[in-house]
């Protein structure tokens, strides 16, 4: 039996030419403006992404038909320095209230009017619980289906 290795957290850093206050505001209150449109788990087109601005606040997307789909909640709310979100979309691309991975975002002043934004998505190993169903999810259109299709197409060319 192979030992299961704990995957490293996903860590990203981006520098933005705005103040930490502004960066925090755009990240949290204007998520609808920047969250990638094709990254949705709804069946209908998305109307908005909402992050309720307080500890325990809901994080969800709303469809054009008014339906809502929860993504998680706010674990830590410390404007304009830090936010920790619970990402509760499991490996089958479903909201699961028993499943929590953490996304921590830190906003640090960088230069006179810039901000360094450090993001860490951790607890990757929790995605492994129920690996079978997760593989099924990853095979679907939301996951690696397209990549595998193009791979298959490439092998045929």
């Amino acid at each position: 039996m192979t030992a299961i290795q704990t995957p490293a957290p996903v860590q990203k850093t981006v520098r933005v030419a705005v103040s930490p206050q502004k960066a925090f505001e755009v990240f949290t209150a204007r998520m609808s403006k920047w969250w990638l449109a094709d990254h949705s788990i709804m069946k209908v087109p998305r109307e908005s992404v909402v992050l309720e601005p307080r500890q325990g606040g809901r994080w969800y997307e709303r469809g054009v038909d008014g339906s809502e789909c929860t993504w998680g909640y706010v674990i830590t709310w410390e404007p304009p320095k830090r936010i920790v979100l619970a990402w509760q979309i499991d490996g089958t691309w479903q909201y699961n209230d028993k499943f929590v991975t953490e996304v921590e975002v830190r906003f640090t002043p960088d230069g006179s009017n810039g901000t360094r934004v450090d993001l860490e998505h951790r607890n990757m190993e929790r995605f492994g619980e129920g690996a079978e169903s997760m593989r099924a999810g990853l095979d679907g259109t939301m996951g690696w289906g397209q990549e595998l299709e193009s791979f298959a197409a490439a092998t045929r060319s």
Binding site: A17, V18, A154
Partner: protein, 78 residues
């Protein structure tokens, strides 16, 4: 599976299979190990590497879009 075994089942050359396997390995879809002189590939059973690679790319894209929006909104405010 070794490269030769995979190539036998596909209508493509062995070098082409090796190339595609390198892409799949980079994407975290397969794991390889040396077995004597040959390299043996298997699908990443836990799928964790795959999901992690997906999230890695996802956050790259999301933060890029966030940066663009933050800097665009600043210009708008001025």
């Amino acid at each position: 599976m070794a490269v030769g075994e995979i190539a036998r089942e596909l209508p493509v050359s062995r070098p082409a299979v090796s190339q595609h396997l390198a892409v799949l390995k980079a994407a975290g879809l397969v794991i390889d190990r040396a077995e004597g002189a040959r390299r043996v590939y298997r699908v990443d059973a836990a799928g964790l590497t795959v999901l992690r690679a997906w999230l890695d790319r996802f956050w790259d894209g999301a933060l890029g879009a966030f940066k663009a929006e933050a800097e665009r909104s600043l210009n708008e405010d001025n």
